[in-house]
Symmetry: none
Subunit: 125 residues, 4 copies
């Protein structure tokens, strides 16, 4: 369910947060569904429970999951997540636009390029 990349420059806990965000958005994990316990997931990934705890704390801070003492962690109503993701998408697009402008690309050329990458990904599937 979760795959870690130790050579990735991002910290482990962030990779986990990111992975859960994806799973919830894609509907693999649904509202009020229980997440793996901190200890079991730590065992499964052979990492320190503190790292899992930190990821869950972060997800809770974002309002994406909620924890009940003595029971576990559960997926929250997904409204927050969609909003968060939209903000991320926006800044991601804005950075792309900035870079394309530096390279002297017009809006049309930029969109052409995006369409090209779309087709490229489609052929990978």
């Amino acid at each position: 369910m979760i795959i870690l990349d130790y050579k990735d420059r991002r910290p482990i806990y962030e990779q986990i947060v990111e992975r859960f965000k994806g799973l919830i958005l894609l509907g693999v994990l649904k509202t009020d569904e229980q997440l793996p316990s901190v200890r079991s997931l730590a065992m499964e990934l052979s990492i320190n429970p503190n790292t899992i705890q930190r990821a869950y704390t972060e997800l809770e801070r974002l309002g994406i999951i909620y924890g009940i003492k003595g029971k576990g962690n559960f997926v929250a109503e997904s409204n927050n997540l969609v909003e968060v993701r939209h903000m991320e998408l926006k800044s991601c697009i804005e950075e792309s636009i900035k870079k394309s402008k530096e390279l002297g690309l017009s809006e049309e050329e930029f969109i052409m390029q995006i369409k090209a990458y779309y087709r490229e990904e489609a052929s990978d599937d």
Copy 2:
């Protein structure tokens, strides 16, 4: 010429590297033009000369500038900066596409959104 954002998560030296990349790409700094000296820029930004030094070392490693001991640092000629930037743009766009897919956006919807952000930026100018 250089503006630092202390709230930014990225290290200062990386912000400086990024800023100079942009200035050179935009043609503000031209081939063989001299960059500010390590010390003077450090004074101007009120940061430690070592931090500037590190940024310059990184830019030299990338082949974007060259330094001459006792003289200063200068913009290198026809570097591979454009190519590097295109790769950066590609991965930036791919991340945007990935996020848009997670949000269930179709290609058309995604491109609509990009056009919207383009107009938004235009109105900021």
Copy 3:
């Protein structure tokens, strides 16, 4: 494991980089093996941790090792070190040839000399 030569004109961090290159090439340090921590090696050599850090950063940039925050630095797998080393050897030989020509040595005389140095080193073992 590491020996520093303070009389050497090359900076300390470069000597360390060079030493690790050799150790990895010779198979003393194997893929995924952990390098000494920045602090411990700094203590052992009685130099500043920053100097070790710089050497490790350089090795990581070359793709020879990889670092994980909070865990340590490790030897990367099947890196391009051999190729890099071959290029270094080539330029080193070319410089030797150039110098031998300036001294008026023929190819045969040059090779004779190399064989002599080989025997000399053999007798040192």
Copy 4:
């Protein structure tokens, strides 16, 4: 007569020293022949006279040239230079041998490679 490479990492004065060593060894400059004056060479190369002076001082220290106050600098008996060059050649070869050993090359393979580079240079002429 002298060509400077500002992008070369070696300091200017060292490039000049190296160039004169070569010219003398090749017989272009003969024993007791006068070198260009500090000021005229500095003018010709558009660099600081101090830099020329430093190069000449270094050459004098090596016993390769000698200076007479009020008259100029002259090429010394070339014995010293040949010896110096032989030492340089030796350390250059030794470094090559060290690197070839790290790469696991036998003496025969190493010499084969040198012959190959010799032929390569011959074809460049």
